[in-house]
Amino acid sequence: MAESISFDRLSFRYRNSESYALKGVTGSIGEGKFVAIMGHEGAGKSTLCFCLNGIVPHFFKGDYSGKTLVNGLEVKKELVSEMAKRVGIVFQDFETQLFSTNVELEMAFGLENLCLRRDEIKRRIDYYLSFVDLNELKNRDISTLSGGQKQRLAIASVLAMEQPILVLDEPLTDLDPEGRRRILKMKDNLKERARVLIMVENDPENIIGSDEIWIMKKGEVISTGRPEDILKNVELLESAGIMVPRHLFFFRKLGLKEIPLTYEESLRLIHEKGYVEMKKERPEIPENICTGGEGIIEFVDVSHIYPNSNYESLKKVNLTIKEGDFVAIVGCNGSGKTTLAKHACGLLIPSKGKVYVRKKDIRTYKRRELASTVGYVFQNPDHQISNYTVFDEVSFGLRMLGIDKKEIKGRVEEALWATGLSGYEELSPFLLSKGERQRVACASILALKPQVLILDEPTTGLDYVHQKSMMEMLKDLNEKGHTIVIITHSPWIVETYATKCVVMKDGRILKEGPTRAVFYDEETLKAASFYPSTLTRIANKLGTKSIKVEEMVEEIKR
């Protein structure tokens, strides 16, 4: 088989960095292959992608040794704009890739550079926009698109160039499950045309269909193999800091020899073993359990219309968040999750209806008073980091409130400890990794000691290890009495941590209640294009009360 890409002892160290981002990477990828790359944050996955079209070492300079060959060309010796004819790449930070006035012209840009004829450009724009389901937004201004729509556009604009090699660096982060399915579907299409697909992706459920998986750790490729072998190798995945699908643990704990990867295989197995039949003996899952606590945030008939817009982003929403709750808000892009959350902290004022915080109308609060009751952590930490040391950054809000120095010191220490950042006081927040910056942002809100903490996608762009430490920290705060509200797209995070779940669609609440009950209703979740994890779907088939591995095993064995 023809070889498309080969790395020969490729090493790279970024200028101003002490350690190597890539260490002697050697390997090759054949025509028509789909290769998935997994690894922890900072493992060198993005750097490896950048080496494929020469961004490293042409734009990001540093020590470069070894060779990268693409279709026999040595990448280092070619211009990036020349390599672009052979390699298409979608960045992890896809928003930087978009710069045109509207969707159609964004699609056209790369095609114009390929010197295609006008009618061909038009044909490809229509074809690839309908592929990612953006056809109706053809004339829309890009700044009015949601995060997920932007990600789909970035992918389509590169796909349309039809290069023999396609590199996608975490292309699914902002997509709802339906959007993910569409993107993943394209792999067969590419295979037919012998095009190579390289995808950096850390969720095993998304890359079961790949031909080969490369595991990276600290700049090295430590293992390669077929997904059946790699994804079942729990020890390998854990040592590389990658999330292991939780249903693997479930089947392991049950003591089964065979470990199924997909839901279909799992289903066959639990039927064979007769676990499903036991379901009848178990009690029904209760629909609505009222859990303790006073209502701390209440939405009463809240509707919201953004200025310059003529449709309601929220439509008569009623919701009570109780003290001590751990609530997850889920739903697809543009369903109103962020709009709802911003109402809870007074960043948005309802067009109709009322929001109460501790039974008091939110409009009667003073800004400062509210900031110490409800804290809001934004999705992008770079939008708030403005001080030169972590200490100053975290104490920012406290200084604004005019609290005395001694008290500030104590509170900052506490917040840093809670976020696992003790000892970072004198470091510059700008030089920390994304995961650490996210935690600094969180600490700076925590220092204000708000009773309620709202976080907008706190784990986006973090790898499994960091996602887990972030969530464990929130769980800890919740146990100490804080009310936590998160917006997320990750099923496992909701299933593992949230006690309550709110499902949103088109500005309305489709369903709310205890997480277990909400996740039992797969139909409703599907309507909001949210798909529970394989483990939960197995739990639903088995009718277990819990969706946590240990408790499920216990219930089955009883």
Binding site: N53, I55, F59, L79, V80, S81, E82, A84, K85, I89, F91, T96, Q97, F99, S100, T101, N102, L105, A108, F109, G110, L111, E112, N113, C115, L116, R118, I121, N139, D141, S143, T144, S157, M161, P307, N308, K342, C345, L347, R367, R368, A371, S372, G375, Y376, F378, N380, D382, H383, Q384, I385, S386, N387, F396, G397, M400, F430, S444, I445, L448
Partner: protein, 264 residues
């Protein structure tokens, strides 16, 4: 949130070739420059307002109503102090205020408003890419025209980022509502730093993104949008040209439309 000024609509003005729009805008600005009599400027103002109506950009104009009001107001108040006229209207603390300088101030206000509206009509009816193509058609190099259009494109992106930053800092207790001017300057820093950091990160990646999509300023490329001068362009151009010629004739040969001589 929608921030860019371009309005996706299908009006006569939208359908005009960008070259027609660039030339016409410049001509109209020139017309507003040669007169300094408020009556004549008012005539030009109404013509421009009419064009704004046709291009359905009046809504945009209303967003700027405070700016427009301030322009007229300050020009009315300030000009009488700087230009001398003939007939004294009244004395303000033994300082003469002339009728002509008062009119002059009014004229200057109208003129500034005309500039703003012409610019607004242009940006709300023309896509950035069309401007690029238009500039190329006038013989400017592609790389240069492209740079201008990208710069224009980045403005709304930065405004968007700025708004998010403001929200993020307010939710941490940053006091933007303070009336104390010293305090207000102090709060700018926590807004400016993240602004610059994100701007630098963004522009750094922009070059990478452009080349990754095969952009090379010196190599050949095709153009998806096509510019075509049609009959309506010719008609529009001819009308604007004859209007400008008329203005020029009135001003130069008839010597009308001047309230204070020797001043633009």
């Amino acid at each position: 949130m929608k921030l860019s000024l371009y309005l996706e609509k299908d009006t006569l003005i939208h359908r005009l070739d960008p070259r027609t729009k660039i030339v016409s805008s410049l001509l109209l600005i020139l017309c507003a420059l040669i007169f300094n009599h408020p009556l004549y400027l008012a005539a030009i103002f109404f013509l421009i307002l009419l064009i704004s109506l046709v291009s359905s950009s009046v809504k945009q104009l209303l967003k700027l109503k405070y700016l427009l009001f301030l322009l007229t107001f300050f020009s009315l108040i300030l000009w009488p102090f700087f230009v001398k006229g003939k007939s004294v209207l009244f004395y303000l603390l033994s300082y003469p205020v002339y009728k002509e300088s008062f009119y002059y101030g009014l004229a200057m206000g109208i003129r500034l408003i005309c500039f703003v509206i012409v610019g607004l009509i242009y940006v709300s009816t023309t896509k950035n890419e069309e401007t690029t193509y238009g500039l190329i058609a006038f013989g400017l190099p592609y790389a240069f025209s492209f740079a201008i259009s990208v710069a224009l494109r980045l403005v709304p992106t930065f405004v968007d980022t700025a708004l998010t930053i403001v929200e993020a800092q307010i939710s941490r207790g940053l006091d933007l509502e303070s009336k104390n001017p010293l305090k207000r300057i102090k709060v700018l820093l926590p807004l400016a730093v993240p602004m610059f950091v994100t701007a630098i990160r963004k522009t750094n990646m922009l070059g990478v993104a452009l080349e990754s999509r095969g952009f090379n300023p010196s190599s050949k490329r095709t153009f998806y949008l096509q510019l075509k001068m049609e009959r309506k362009d010719l008609i529009a151009l001819l009308s604007v040209l004859s209007f400008s010629a008329l203005c020029f004739y009135i001003r130069v040969f008839l010597g009308l439309g001047v309230i204070i001589k020797g001043r633009i």
